[in-house]
Structures are given as structure tokens and as C-alpha cells.
């Protein structure tokens, strides 16, 4: 198995927002992964990430495009939030000071031994307590 990564919603949305401070670096991050196809990257996402990306675009007034974008997650393994997941996540919550939506992303990365990629500084800091976590820039430096 190659490298498993869990990309946070903030990273996907930044690649679509032309004004975002991380827009260019995030696109370079995805371009690097695209170019390093032989490295065997696999993307896994909790179901909430796909919905967050779609709902964020919907709130910006782009509901049609939001629906179309979810089709591009077809090559991604979607991790269901089911009973087994809940039981696995519960023991991890005491180790991280995060609200539920953030905690389940960090916990999902930990359970899958995936590298978490996020632009959110608080999520990054707390997630590092239980799993490898990087900004897109940091991950690019690691992989070059």
C-alpha cells in the first residue's frame, strides 16, 4: 500500500477560491500528487468532508457546481460514520481538544494511519497529538 492521505475540507475549498491566501499553494499540492501518481497515493475521507465542501459552495450560491464537484470524489474512499467508527473514535477524544466535527477528522486519520492535510492551524496542532498532520506546503516539502 502506498501513502494514505486524508485531505481536510479547507484544502479542497481553498483550491476553488481564487482569493484564498493558500489558493496557489494548494493547487501546487494537488498538482504534485497528480504528478507523483507512481507513489500510490490513496485518498480517504470521512463522509462529512464531501458534504462540507458541497455545503460550503452551496452557501456561497453555487449549489449546481457543488453537486457536480461531488462526482470528482468518486476515486476517494468514503469512510462511513457508523457504530464501529464511533466505538473506535470515543477513546481518542480525551487526547484532543477539538469540537466534534474536527475531532472526527483527526480520529479518522489516526484510525486509518493516514496523513492529515489541513490549512486549519488549530486542527493541525491538535491532530498532531494522535496522527501525522501537515499543511499542504509541509507535505509537499516532505514528498519532494
Amino acid at each position: 500500500m502506498g501513502h494514505i492521505i486524508l485531505v481536510d475540507s479547507s484544502v479542497f475549498v481553498a483550491s476553488l477560491l481564487e482569493d484564498d491566501p493558500s489558493h496557489t499553494s494548494v493547487q501546487r499540492f494537488f498538482a504534485l500528487l497528480d504528478a507523483q501518481d507512481d507513489m500510490g497515493y490513496s485518498v480517504v475521507e470521512p463522509a462529512t468532508v464531501v458534504l462540507e465542501v458541497a455545503n460550503t459552495l452551496t452557501r456561497l450560491g453555487h449549489s449546481q457546481e457543488a453537486g457536480d464537484i461531488t462526482a470528482h470524489f468518486s476515486s476517494v474512499e468514503i469512510m462511513p460514520i457508523d457504530r464501529a467508527f464511533i466505538n473506535s473514535v470515543l477513546p481518542l477524544l480525551k487526547n484532543i481538544n477539538l469540537k466534534t466535527a474536527d475531532a472526527l477528522i483527526a480520529a479518522a486519520a489516526h484510525l486509518l494511519e493516514a496523513a492529515l492535510i489541513t490549512l486549519d492551524k488549530k486542527l493541525l496542532r491538535e491532530a498532531k497529538k494522535i496522527t501525522p498532520a501537515y499543511t499542504p506546503e509541509e507535505y509537499m516539502k516532505k514528498r519532494r
Binding site: M1, G2, I4, D8, S9, S10, V11, F12, V13, A14, S15, L16, L17, E18, D19, D20, P21, S22, V26, Q27, R28, F30, A31, L33, D34, D37, G40, Y41, S42, V43, V44, E52, N55, T56, L57, R59, L60, H62, E65, D68, I69, H72, F73, S74, S75, V76, E77, K99, A101, D102, L112, L119, D120, K121
Partner: protein
């Protein structure tokens, strides 16, 4: 490769079974000689080419503007009730 394994064997040989699963072996779990479930590696789609290329170079109709950053928008998404 798929192998049969009893619950007792799973309990006593778990470290070795786990290693086999990580290497791709699937197991059919037997309880009182009847199959009760399957054990195997997580099915992760190899390669995210489609998603990588899409988000590296989103087509024009998927390029948006916002006064808020992506982090701010997602933070709102995760905290609003």
C-alpha cells in the same frame, strides 16, 4: 488469497493474522464451524488521479470568489448551529 479461520484461532494468533491481513489476505471467520463474517484489508481505491487533477486545475466554472478564506468558511460550517 482467502483462508478460513476460527474465532479461537483469531484470538490466539491475532498478531500473525493482522500481518497477513495487511499483506492482502482475506479470512472467512468461522464460529462453531459456520461462517459468520469476513476479515480483510481496508478497500482503499488506489490512486486519486481524478481528484488530484481536478483540484490542481479546476475548470473555470469551478473557480469562485469569497471575502472569507476557506479556513474561515469551514470553521463557520463546523460551528454554526
Amino acid at each position: 488469497m482467502t483462508k478460513l479461520i476460527s474465532v479461537k484461532e483469531l484470538r490466539t494468533r491475532f498478531p500473525a493474522i493482522r500481518r497477513e491481513i495487511e499483506q492482502g489476505t482475506r479470512f472467512i471467520l468461522l464460529h462453531r464451524s459456520r461462517p459468520v463474517g469476513e476479515l480483510g484489508p481496508i478497500k482503499i481505491t488506489q490512486g486519486g488521479e481524478d481528484i488530484f487533477s481536478f483540484f490542481a486545475r479546476p475548470p473555470a466554472r469551478f473557480r469562485f470568489r469569497s471575502k472569507k478564506s476557506a479556513v474561515e468558511l469551514i470553521r463557520e460550517e463546523r460551528t454554526r448551529s
